[in-house]
């Protein structure tokens, strides 16, 4: 049975996360898609900042002994196929796992329908009719290492950029941070000054990309030890939260609930709060055709995320900062899937 303190800590981190996602319009679907669709990099910059901040934060906390890193296991077939399906689904659903979740809090019925598809297929792929596909890909393409190296939980067999070549993770971390910050400095712009008092800037206006990135990075740092304290040694995640939520409902078993379940519920609450304060909450729905498209997109998100054992948050926001090879492969194929679909659906006329 889940402890009340775990429920509370999951909810609090979730509310902070949801509030920030809504204020920052943080959406990886838009971040990746806009690169080719609009030649717009603002949200991508927020994603890069969030990854750099949490990468530095996770490694500092691990060096201080506060946490033990826990990169996701590598099954390249599952990461490639799951990533591609997730990337396709994200364009159809009008949002990634976190984008879809926070938009439910804004009152977007299309995103709610996408979320229903996402939960349903996550359970079907995790423990239902499609679980064979997942376990086949996972077992046939698995690659493990014998020594996880420093800062990582000793029981881990997951390859990372550091342990696969046997160097100290800090060397890789510093290289990535320098390259990332260099890229941000090279593609400057969009920092634009917003008008108004500090409280207006926080509660009424959209946040600039750098603020969004830094705050999400800090929330990820808080999430890691908070979640680890409840026995789930991992930072943020969305997919596991929703699949445990639906599983608990179907099986009538509260034991499947975890810290992540309350995290995702918190995200919806936090986004609803942020949207209400800013005057951006409204129940609204697109036409029936788009609703069906978003539902199918949601189904693909769930299938992809569960096959790959993580979504854009579990892999890209939480796994990449831990240097997990699996998360890097997943992220790459999410972008390929996203671009392919955006091209076919939105750019070809």
């Amino acid at each position: 049975m889940i402890e009340p303190t775990a429920i509370l800590s999951g909810l609090i981190v979730g509310i902070l996360f949801g509030f920030t996602l809504q204020r920052g319009r943080f959406c990886m679907n838009s971040a990746f898609r806009d690169i080719i669709l609009l030649k717009e990099y603002t949200l991508l910059k927020a994603v890069i900042v969030a990854i750099i901040v949490s990468m530095l934060g996770f490694h500092i906390m691990a060096s201080l002994g506060i946490i033990q890193l826990n990169p996701k296991p590598l099954s390249w077939g599952a990461d490639i196929i799951g990533g591609f399906i997730f990337g396709v689904g994200m364009v159809l659903a009008g949002g990634c796992a976190s984008g879809t979740t926070y938009r439910v809090g804004e009152g977007m019925v299309g995103s709610f329908v996408a979320l229903l598809g996402f939960m349903l297929s996550a359970v079907i792929t995790g423990s239902g009719a499609l679980s064979g596909v997942k376990s086949y890909l996972e077992t046939t393409t698995k690659i493990t290492i014998t020594d996880p190296g420093p800062l990582i939980a000793p029981s881990s067999r997951s390859p990372t950029l550091a342990n696969i070549i046997g160097v100290d993770p800090w060397i890789i971390v510093i290289i990535i941070a320098i390259v990332g910050i260099g890229a941000l400095a090279w593609k400057r712009g969009g920092e634009g000054k917003t008008e108004g008092s500090l409280s207006e800037k926080i509660f009424k206006r959209g946040w600039p990309w750098w603020a969004t990135g830094i705050v999400i990075g800090i929330i990820a740092m808080i999430a890691f030890p908070a979640s680890a304290a409840t026995g789930r040694n991992y930072p943020l995640g969305i997919t596991g939260g929703w699949s445990t939520f639906l599983n608990a409902l179907i099986k009538g078993d509260a034991n499947v609930l975890s810290w992540e379940t309350f995290l995702v519920i918190g995200v919806v609450i936090g986004a609803a709060l942020a949207a209400s304060i800013a005057g951006e909450f409204k129940l609204r729905a697109p036409g029936p055709g788009r609703l069906i498209q978003q539902f199918i997109g949601g189904l693909l998100l769930g299938i992809g995320a569960v096959i790959a054992n993580g979504c854009n948050i579990g892999h890209i926001l939480s796994g990449v900062p831990q240097l997990a090879i699996s998360s890097i492969i997943f992220g790459f194929f999410v972008i390929i899937g996203c671009w392919t679909t955006a091209y076919l659906l939105l750019m070809r006329r």
Partner: protein, 79 residues
Amino acid sequence: MSEIKPTETLDVRGEVCPYPDVMTQKKVKSMKSGEILEVLVDYPLSVERIPESVKKMGHEVLKVEKTGASEWKILIKIK
């Protein structure tokens, strides 16, 4: 310019991104120089995005007006 009469109105309420942006761009391309397009939108990100992308295409954004709870009206003059 007290009250501007739009030539055409595009209603993208209820749509999530990228559809408001994409539909606006498509509409703008189909219109003639000097015409005014009115876009009704209720998606906050798109309210920030549409003016940006329309300006990039070389058109003029006359007005972005909040018309209600999470509802906006954007007026675009085609160049």
